[in-house]
Amino acid sequence: MSLISVSKVKIGYNNIPVVDKLSFDINEKDFICIVGPNGSGKTTLIRGILGLIPVMSGKITFSLNENQIGYMPQETTVDANFPASVFEIVLSGSLNKPGIFYNTETKNRASETLKMLGISKLEKQSFSELSGGQRQKVLLARALMATDKLLFLDEPSNNLDQKSKESLYELVQKLNAEHGITIVMVTHDLDHGNLIGNKILSLAPKDYFFGTTEEYVRKVHHE
C-alpha cells in the first residue's frame, strides 16, 4: 500500500528547481535510501514532502495523516549551554498530537522509546553533555514519538564515528524489520558494497533512478 505518492514534482529555492520531474512511491514497510552527490536535492526533496518548503509543480498524495510522520532533520546544531534534558526533547516529538500537557501515556511511551533505543540511562541528562552518537539516538527517539508509521531521516549518521554509525544503522534496520516502520533515509556514506534498505532513490543529476536495491546494484555495475 502506498503511503505517499510523489508525482512529477519540481522543488527548489527562490524559483530555481533543485529537483525536477521526479516521481516515486513510498510504500508501507519500505526502507528507501535516498542517495546522490552533494547539491543533488536530497534534503530539498524531504523538506518539500514535509511541507517545509513549497512544491513548485507536480503533486504529492498522502494516504496517511500529517501527524503520522516523524522527522529527524539534518544536523541539529545546539548551543553548548542550551538547557534541555533528554526527556524534554523526546517528549517534544509528540507535539504533533493535540493537547496542552503531556499525559501519562505519552510519558510512558517516551520512556519505552528510550528503552527500545538503549538510552534509558540518559533520560535526565542534559543534551549538551551527550556525545554525537548519543545525541542522534535522542533525536531518533524524538522522531519516533511523532510516529509509528513513517520516518524521514536526513543524514542521521553525519559526523559520527564508524562505531556510532553502525549502531545507529542497526537500530534503524530494527525499527523497519521488527516494528514495521517505513523508513526514508538520506545518506551519502553508503556505497554499493554496504547498501541497506530495500529500495534506492538516486538523485544523480539528469539520471534519476528509483528501484529495488538489487536493481540499483546491477545498474551501477553495468556502468
Binding site: Y71, T76, P83, S85, L91, S92, S128
Partner: protein
C-alpha cells in the same frame, strides 16, 4: 525596617514596585526563548526604537505609550523578517536600526527644544510610572502567563529546534510574531522605569543566570522568572536607600547575581 515601610507609603513607589515586578517577570519569560535562540539583540534594538518613538510623541503632543507601542511592534516585525532572510546580516541591520532610532529621537527632541528630559528616557525615572502603565503591565503579565501555561511545551520545541517544530506542524511564524509583540509591549512599558538603554537587560540577565546552574528548560524558565522579580525588588529597595537611579541599580543587582552564580558553578565543578 521603618524606612522600608516609609518607602512603600509613597504612591509612586508602590506603582514602581508593581509595574517593575510584573515587567521583570514577563521579560524573563519572554526572554528565555529569545536568549536561547540568540535573538536577544531584538530587545536591545527595540528599546532604542521605543526611545525614538517617545521623543517623537512628546514633541507632537501625543500620548507616548499609544505612539510607541505600534511603532515598536512594526519594528519588531521588521527585525523578524530580517532574521528569516538569511541573505541579510541580521545583526548589522539591527545595530543600524538602533543607532538610527536613537539619533532621530535625540535630534527631534533637541530641535523642538521642549523640556523633554532625554536623560529620564535613556536611564529611566521612577517618578514617571502612571496608573495606565500599572493596568497595562498587569494585562501584559496575565497574557504572558496564560501563553506560557498553555503552550510551554511548544515554546520549548520551537526554541530547541525550529526546523523540527515546523515539520510536526507547529506554527512557528505565529509564535515568533506573538513573542515579538510581547517583547515590544514590555519594552515600551518598562522603558520609563528602567530607561531605554537598560530595559533590554531584564530580558537577558535572568535566563543567563538560571542557565549557569540548571540544565533543563523548565527549571531555567521558572528560576529565571523568580530571580527576575527578586532582583528587581532588591534593586528598587537599594536604589531608595542609597538614592541611586533605579534602572541602573536593578541592572547592577542582576549583574552581581550572574557573576556570583558563575563563580559558584565553577567552584562546584572543581
Amino acid at each position: 525596617m521603618n524606612s522600608l515601610l516609609e518607602m512603600f507609603s509613597f504612591g509612586f513607589m508602590m506603582r514602581a514596585l508593581i509595574v517593575g515586578s510584573l515587567i521583570s517577570l514577563s521579560a524573563a519569560l519572554v526572554g528565555t526563548p529569545l536568549v536561547l535562540k540568540k535573538n536577544s539583540m531584538l530587545g536591545d534594538g527595540l528599546s532604542h526604537v521605543a526611545f525614538g518613538a517617545f521623543a517623537l510623541a512628546s514633541v507632537l503632543g501625543f500620548a507616548p505609550l499609544w505612539v510607541a507601542i505600534p511603532i515598536v511592534i512594526i519594528a519588531s516585525f521588521f527585525v523578524l523578517r530580517i532574521n528569516e532572510n538569511s541573505k541579510i546580516h541580521g545583526d548589522s541591520a539591527v545595530a543600524l536600526m538602533s543607532a538610527s532610532a536613537l539619533a532621530i529621537g535625540t535630534f527631534i527632541a533637541s530641535l523642538a527644544g521642549t523640556n523633554t528630559d532625554i536623560n529620564s528616557y535613556l536611564f529611566g525615572s521612577i517618578l514617571s510610572v502612571s496608573e495606565t502603565e500599572v493596568f497595562l503591565a498587569l494585562g501584559l503579565f496575565m497574557t504572558v502567563i496564560i501563553i506560557y501555561v498553555l503552550f510551554h511545551n511548544k515554546i520549548f520545541a520551537l526554541t530547541f529546534d525550529e526546523k523540527f517544530a515546523r515539520a510536526i506542524g507547529i506554527n512557528t511564524k505565529l509564535y515568533n510574531a506573538i513573542f515579538a509583540i510581547l517583547c515590544s509591549v514590555l519594552i515600551v512599558l518598562g522603558m520609563r522605569l528602567m530607561g531605554a538603554l537598560l530595559i533590554s537587560s531584564l530580558i537577558i540577565f535572568p535566563t543567563l543566570s538560571a542557565q549557569t546552574i540548571f540544565k533543563n528548560f523548565k527549571l531555567v524558565t521558572i528560576v529565571g522568572a523568580i530571580l527576575a522579580v527578586v532582583n528587581f525588588v532588591l534593586g528598587l529597595i537599594i536604589s531608595y536607600l542609597c538614592e541611586t537611579p533605579t534602572g541602573a541599580t536593578v541592572v547592577i543587582v542582576n549583574l552581581f547575581t550572574l557573576v556570583v552564580l558563575k563563580i559558584l558553578n565553577r567552584l562546584i565543578k572543581k
